[in-house]
Symmetry: C2
Subunit: 555 residues, 2 copies
Amino acid sequence: MSSERLIYLPLGGAGEVGMNAYVYGYGKPGKERLILVDLGLTFPDMDNSPGVDLILPDISWLEARRNQLDGIFITHAHEDHVGAVAHYYDRLGAPIHARAFTANIARGKMAEFGHPETAVRIASPWPETVTAGPFTVGFVPISHSIPESSGLVIDTPDGRIVHTGDFKIDLTPGVGEPFDHDLWASIGAAGVKVLACDSTNVFSHHEGRSESSVAQPITDLVADRPGMVVATTFASNVARVKTLAEAGARAGRSVCLMGRAMRRMIEAAVESGVLTDFPRTVTPEEAANMPRENVMLIVTGSQGERRAASAQLANGKYNGITMKEGDTFLFSSKTIPGNERGVIRIINQFSELGVDVIEGDDRYHVSGHANWPDLDTIHKLLKPQMLIPMHGEHRHLREHVKLARANRIEGILAVNGMMIDLSGNAPKVAEYVETGRTYLDGSVKYGALDGVVRDRIRMALNGHVMINVILDEEDEPLGEPWVETMGLAGTGRSNAPLVDVLEEDLAQFMGRAGNKVLGDDDKLEEGLRRVARQSAQNEIGKRPEVTVVISRLAD
Amino acid sequence: MSSERLIYLPLGGAGEVGMNAYVYGYGKPGKERLILVDLGLTFPDMDNSPGVDLILPDISWLEARRNQLDGIFITHAHEDHVGAVAHYYDRLGAPIHARAFTANIARGKMAEFGHPETAVRIASPWPETVTAGPFTVGFVPISHSIPESSGLVIDTPDGRIVHTGDFKIDLTPGVGEPFDHDLWASIGAAGVKVLACDSTNVFSHHEGRSESSVAQPITDLVADRPGMVVATTFASNVARVKTLAEAGARAGRSVCLMGRAMRRMIEAAVESGVLTDFPRTVTPEEAANMPRENVMLIVTGSQGERRAASAQLANGKYNGITMKEGDTFLFSSKTIPGNERGVIRIINQFSELGVDVIEGDDRYHVSGHANWPDLDTIHKLLKPQMLIPMHGEHRHLREHVKLARANRIEGILAVNGMMIDLSGNAPKVAEYVETGRTYLDGSVKYGALDGVVRDRIRMALNGHVMINVILDEEDEPLGEPWVETMGLAGTGRSNAPLVDVLEEDLAQFMGRAGNKVLGDDDKLEEGLRRVARQSAQNEIGKRPEVTVVISRLAD
């Protein structure tokens, strides 16, 4: 088959929430010209990725085809959409396109890595477009929980693709552009072949609520509370931060932003012109010296992150400020599944300080994603020929295909690595591409399946025994085996130190072992490991990880 | 002060959900006769207690006073109330009192440990009582999510204590005794000095719902679904298991129980007479050979536990049964905070199999704990002089004290280790007792703060470097340092193997080191550790844990 085809290939975000990276291509099979939509990251957790700093999509497939890549398009400035641009700039090189606010954030990341900021180009919104190979890409304003989110209209020789990015239908988003039904209807009227659509909230069946609906409840709450009021939200939700700040100002409080991400986002919003009338703020030092009932802090750390401002305040003093009895802490946010423990920990710490915490109250938070009814609306507005649910776990994508079916749209469930051929009248799987997760760990990147983190998890679950033996030139043991343990109980069943018990059992093994074993590193190591694990099992009921070091003195 | 006093001392459960263990005492200070109410456990997690099997309360204080302990009273058979009885039988020895169903479960645990089952005595419900030293204890039926839950009426020379245990106000609990307002009112009418009261649901302000309210929705759901229906719930919720089984039977399905805990609970309920008319069940083998639309499985693993039946089914085949497109999996349960990741994992696995999952739907689950309105009712019914909120995190206890204040009851926030003197007209802190968590790890118990688990967490976060050096009789290095790593990237900045880089840097250090260092194990170890950490930091941007083994060849 040598005719052109139109393809879609998710490298991240399809089958998970986070780490968005979607490839579109057009051309002869294998020689398609490519664009990448979003290049985000996701966050590690102790269960699956202890010690890892960040999780990035594995872009090997794209890197091997970087000469086919005509551009990278970033829909909005959330970390799971823009977070990996600087990490991968060296390996992809293509120009990065984004609207002003998003570009400001992306350029900040590039600068941190010493990459040229000019690699990030500022795109004007629709009807202006950017040409990248066979693709003409327009950034269409769409409402979400961060300024200047865009749905992309991607016109190709084989028809129009609409890639929503993350979105909701919000007619009064506070900061930024409201959802424009007429504009989207006109985009749909021109004929949409493929709708690639946000799926994260498909299980929410109630009507979506506008960002502006939280303003009055927050204003009333802040006006009502004695003592200091501290609120946390996602730093990137500039509209929310503004609402909180205005509620503080209206209650006669001085507003103070705390946390690097919070200040960075507001700075980017002001610099890029999306935020023009933010209340005057004071520094933490100034806030610390004011009567507490005159202060409103807006802080990072809505997910209970250990090093963020909220966790620091819960721990005690932060930036000279201590919360106490009579103060209020508001979570103007939702706890992302998996972060509950961290959030509950700081709520209890605040409780110990006597601080009233308001959390999980719908009046003070709305989601930034389209619920089922909003998704239904966008299907009907754009009337696509095909639907590709994107950004969501498997369950979300599957449910979104059901909605498509209900709307008589051809849907396909494509997870990361499934290349979909969009050329015909129905989407079909063209190929399976190897994808996965890349861990950034300290300054090193490696594959999630490389075994490094598996070993860490094993040490965490099983503890670690290190065995040291020395043999002379005749393969005779010099002294007895030496054992160190880490992460294991000091004593077990016999009440003798565990290392003593292990050393004795290992010494007995060495004593019994013949030259065939003593002279063979592999056999000796295997024997020592087996004895150590069995001995630990008897003594403490656990089979630890074992590292054996055999030193042979040279002739 | 030599007169008698009445004391309360939580050793577990106060400041946390789980691991309940509450001491009451009466007598001269330091010589009080004691009883223990509940002796439960809690479950580990990867964030805080990787590799640990179970978490038990630290009972050192009580063990040191075991000759003052006149009895252990178990309110109900949930693991966080009864789970530690067998683990601690040797160390406490006192007779254990419980009603028949709870005793059946407790005796099973005793048998597993080879302890005498007769140590667990079956108590008849109120108005019968058990005398234990100066205490007269009655088991008053109270509704909860397990059969035969009891509130304890503890009469003391200094007045009546009511210890609710876990409870809700349920007039139609399905299996077991309904909440009896008149009975509780009569108990209150005799005068209650202290109410120690379940706090876990104090933040829920809506009216509690009866267990029986889920029967019709579940029946309708099961009748409606094509394919196999599999439901999970807490195995101990015998009423729910019965409701699920009856829904299956009514839909003409054969019912099969899967998972050891599920079968054990139903067996105990039948043996103890609380369950009399459970639908006939079939074996997994029989179920596997039936048309799938004729089968209803009821399985363990509502919290996504990796080894439970639900996770096994999500993974593929279990007991010869494979779920597939058109089947339904119902969570008739709530996800306990912290377990979200595990639950979401299996939902997505089911989604990949094409199974429709119903989760988080209030129609199919009700809580077993008293909400704010129920707590208010019990306050008003018993009219205690003092309230001690128990079973709950700090935030729950604090909120419950607020409710007490609203009801003009003297409340006190007592967390684990705070001994409260209840003798006067108001509760007051008498003493702070050292308490904490004991980890069961394999076959060994040790303190949560002993450092074992801290080392495991450090290895998981930082990786582990092992350094081996050998010196001769003159303190001269024999060969070069040998390095092994575990849980660290194989190569870093220089593209050479990490172990080679470390070995080279360590060899240089040894070369530079004078006799004062080479001859001193502590100095040499400290130097090697420092160099290894710095070298790793340069190479991979991480500072690993380091274990150093120095071998000195004897003269």
